[in-house]
């Protein structure tokens, strides 16, 4: 119905959202309280929700609509970062909140949900459109999809299914999940959320690359020496020990978030900025990542696990000492991988990707190191290669490091930096990743969502490492780095083998 609303003015109005109901499975969970509902409320504050809008929450806990509203109000008040709480908007928002209790495995839940959604459609004029949001344990995805078999067909409105990561715990289970979801939902109904792609600064990579012609001619093997992608967290597992020990850094961060970031940095430009055109390019790039042979894993991937340490005078437990963690856990709390991309643009350029917990600071950035000058006129020490840094968090922005003559006699060069800072150039609140992605899902724009072929391609890139690390023999290698440091020595050695060093972010 893109052309049926003559009152739209795309140049001024934010993305249009049709009337709809959002059904959240796992409405009592952390994600709902911290991210989903506060994001939806912020959208209401900014007049970005449609007139006909409702949220139907589900969890096992019996609760009235009224009790659910009170619970959600408390969450919104607590987690509404950088926005004010407006009573009038809340009253309106709360009128559209409903709750249906029930076990996800019980068919009765879906019968009641169907009847409740019909009432909600009438009361809130949601037009029969429904966005199902799976904020549950991944093991329940298939059960919910099967329960929604009838509702998924739609009856006078669209149906979409938002799925949170992980999309399987390996290549095989990712395919099994695909089969289970596709039994009831078509691929264009499925929105696999990777909140990294919703971050403004990740989206800005596309703007930077394809909106500024001066960089694109340099964006290839001729001028770029290597790329480093870092996602470091200063915290440990913070109560998620039980989950994290099954996942690890490779599965939790690299397989999804960081490979999506890598694909955004390295993809070819699409002909048009349309969902499938952009996703085709991302998928193509992911498929170009060279699969590792088992014998090559050791030279291309390093696992780490933090041990106890004192940080700033405070004792910090090692991973195996964290609550809920098996004292013999072999989980990687740090992973570093050298990816090579087999295409004309990137042949021979290593992409070093690392992610870890209990690092010295929280930082996510991409560093693109350009090749040195072919023949240096100045002393080698002072003429350092150019470095372009795309900072994703915190202090989002872009820096370009280049050499400049030091004032005074002689010709001494010193690296200086040209900085663009999101906060100072656009001194306003930027929407959170969940706000962006929720609006996109309601508006039917999957550009920033992951497609099944992208999921499979990224699993294909890490599966040999998962297998090798799963079949480890020999002495226990963990812990191999102290909490509060930049990871194990083996990670430095991996780069040193190619004459490179990790930069300190």
């Amino acid at each position: 119905m893109a052309d049926a609303n003559p009152f739209q003015d795309p140049q001024r109005f934010e993305r249009r959202v049709p009337p709809c109901a959002v059904v959240i499975f796992g409405a009592n969970g952390d994600l709902t309280k911290r991210k989903l509902v506060p994001s939806l409320y912020r959208l209401a504050i900014e007049r970005r929700l449609p007139q006909g809008f409702a949220i139907v929450g589900n969890s096992r806990t019996p609760m009235t609509d009224e009790a659910f509203r009170e619970k959600i109000e408390a969450s919104v008040r607590e987690h509404l970062e950088n926005s004010h709480f407006d009573e009038a908007v809340w009253d309106e928002f709360a009128r559209g909140l409903y709750y249906v209790a029930g076990d996800l495995a019980c068919p009765e839940l879906y019968t009641e949900l169907t009847s409740r959604l019909a009432t909600v459609a009438e009361e809130r004029q949601t037009g029969g459109n429904i966005l199902f949001y799976l904020s549950t344990q991944p093991s329940q995805y298939a059960t919910v999809a099967s329960g929604l078999a009838d509702l998924a067909k739609g009856n006078g409105g669209w149906r979409r299914l938002v799925v949170e990561k992980p999309f399987g715990h390996d290549q095989q289970s990712a395919r099994e999940l695909e089969v289970a979801l596709h039994e009831y939902f078509t691929e264009d109904q499925i929105y696999r959320i990777d909140h990294y792609l919703g971050k403004e600064t990740v989206q800005n990579i596309l703007a930077f690359r394809f909106g500024n012609p001066i960089f694109e001619p340099l964006w290839n093997r001729q001028y770029i020496d290597h790329v480093q992608i870092t996602a470091a967290e200063s915290i440990g597992v913070e109560g998620r020990g039980a989950y994290y020990q099954e996942a690890g850094a490779l599965r939790d961060m690299i397989q999804n978030h960081l490979l999506q970031v890598l694909s955004t940095v390295a993809m070819e430009p699409s002909a048009v900025f349309e969902p499938n055109a952009v996703r085709d390019e991302r998928a193509k790039l992911l498929r170009s990542i060279r699969p590792l042979k088992p014998a090559d894993v050791a030279a291309h991937a390093v696992a780490g696990q933090y041990g106890p340490a004192a940080i700033g005078g405070k004792a910090v437990a090692g991973f195996r000492g964290e609550p809920g963690v098996n004292p013999e856990a072999m989980t990687d709390t740090y992973a570093a991988v050298t990816f090579l991309i087999d295409n004309w643009r990137w042949a021979g350029v290593p992409f070093y990707v690392r992610s870890g917990k209990r690092m010295p600071k929280r930082v996510t950035d991409i560093a693109i190191r350009f090749r040195p000058v072919p023949h240096s006129l100045f002393d080698n020490e002072s003429a350092r290669p150019n470095l372009l840094i795309l900072r994703i968090q915190p202090e989002e922005g872009i820096s370009l490091r280049f050499s400049s003559k030091q004032p005074g006699p002689g010709m001494k060069l010193r690296p200086v930096s040209m900085d663009f800072n999101y906060g100072t150039s656009f001194g306003m609140r930027t929407p959170t990743a969940y706000e962006t992605l929720l609006v996109d899902a309601m508006a039917g724009d999957p550009t920033l969502y992951t497609r099944q072929d992208m999921v499979e391609a990224s699993w294909a890139a890490v599966q040999p490492i998962v297998d090798a690390w799963g079949n480890r023999t020999g002495p226990d290698p963990f812990p191999n780095y102290a909490a509060g440091t930049w990871g194990p020595a083996a990670s430095d050695e991996m780069l040193a083998a190619r004459g490179h060093v990790w930069r300190v972010p």
Partner: protein
């Protein structure tokens, strides 16, 4: 204070201002930011604080070199200038964002000198916007050279009412990008309406809309009301339009829009200064639409970088009615 406006001297003064600002701070504590030249012309001797607040509000998203031309009504010819800088701590940042400001005071007979001096003061390679704060200046012959300084013209037509619209349209036809804050004030109404009509059910009712009432408070419909009528009329060619007076519920002239059709009534109305309400036969919902300060309105206009065909068509249609 400089007794004549010489661009080179002013730019040197600016360098001095930056050097002074930087003293005692770490190297990266201040960021000299500029994305455009904002040239403001005003005749109000008492708007100094208000204007600086507005410009400070704009700095966050649109840091610029601000040139304020204060036009004086004094018997003796005056032409003088001074430079300052405004700094603020940007949202979530640790760095102060600073913009430079040049204030020129001149009598009308010296506007030609202001024009020539301003040519040397605009920032190279960046857009220039001319905000004619007193729209009556547009009708003064002494002011005409100033219009040549920019291709984007920002005005608020409210003080003069619809009589100024043909002049704005002339400028538009001559190649200027015209931005009228009276149109920007319609955005909350237009956007809420557009959002309501995202419902396919309401879309189906569009051909049945036979008449539309626009309720206003005050003596006459404002320019915003006239714009809104033209904009809706272009989308509902079958409907008749009528302005009806009503008691005010919200500051400003516009109070409600009522759509009458054979099958459905729809009303978008003000509840209070901060809220609009959409009423259909079966559902009433409210949205937040607080009155917007001038900086906020200007920011919306600055976010449109190219032509604005919707406004341009609406301006032409409003004059034709």
């Amino acid at each position: 204070m400089i007794t004549a406006v010489q661009p080179e001297k002013l730019l040197k003064e600016l360098e001095h201002v930056w050097a002074e600002l930087g003293k005692g701070h770490p190297a990266d504590a201040l960021l000299r930011a500029c994305s455009m030249t904002m040239l403001v012309t005003t005749t109000d001797p008492n708007d100094e604080v208000e204007l600086k607040n507005t410009l400070a509000g704009l700095m966050r998203a649109h840091p610029s070199r601000m040139i304020i031309v204060r036009i004086l009504d004094t018997p003796n010819a005056v032409l003088s200038a001074q430079v300052t800088a405004q700094c603020l701590l940007a949202f979530g940042g640790r760095q102060q964002l600073c913009c430079e400001m040049i204030e020129i005071r001149a009598t009308r007979d010296r506007l030609a000198d202001v024009y020539s001096a301003s040519l040397g003061l605009t920032v190279a390679d960046l857009p220039v916007m001319l905000w004619v704060k007193d729209i009556r200046l547009l009708q003064e012959s002494s002011f005409q050279p100033m219009l040549q300084l920019a291709r984007t013209l920002l005005v608020d037509s409210v003080p003069l009412g619809p009589s100024i619209l043909p002049a704005l349209n002339e400028r538009r036809r001559a190649g200027w990008r015209v931005k009228d804050l009276a149109w920007t004030r319609c955005t909350a109404w237009r956007e809420t309406l557009a959002q309501a009509f995202e419902s396919t059910w309401l879309q189906e009712q569009i051909p049945n809309i036979a008449s539309v009432e626009i309720a206003y408070a005050g003596a006459n419909p404002s320019v915003s009301g006239l714009y809104l009528r033209s904009w809706m009329a272009a989308r509902l060619p079958q409907a008749s339009f009528e302005f009806v007076p009503c008691p005010p519920r919200r500051n400003g002239n516009l109070q409600a829009i009522r759509f009458h059709s054979t099958t459905q009534e729809l009303e978008l109305r003000a509840v209070d200064d901060a809220t609009l309400e959409i009423v259909t036969s079966s559902l009433t919902t409210r949205v937040l639409a607080p009155a917007r300060v001038e900086a906020d309105l200007i920011e919306e206009e600055l976010s449109i970088l190219g032509d604005d065909p919707v406004y341009e068509a609406t301006l032409a249609a409003t004059i034709a009615q």
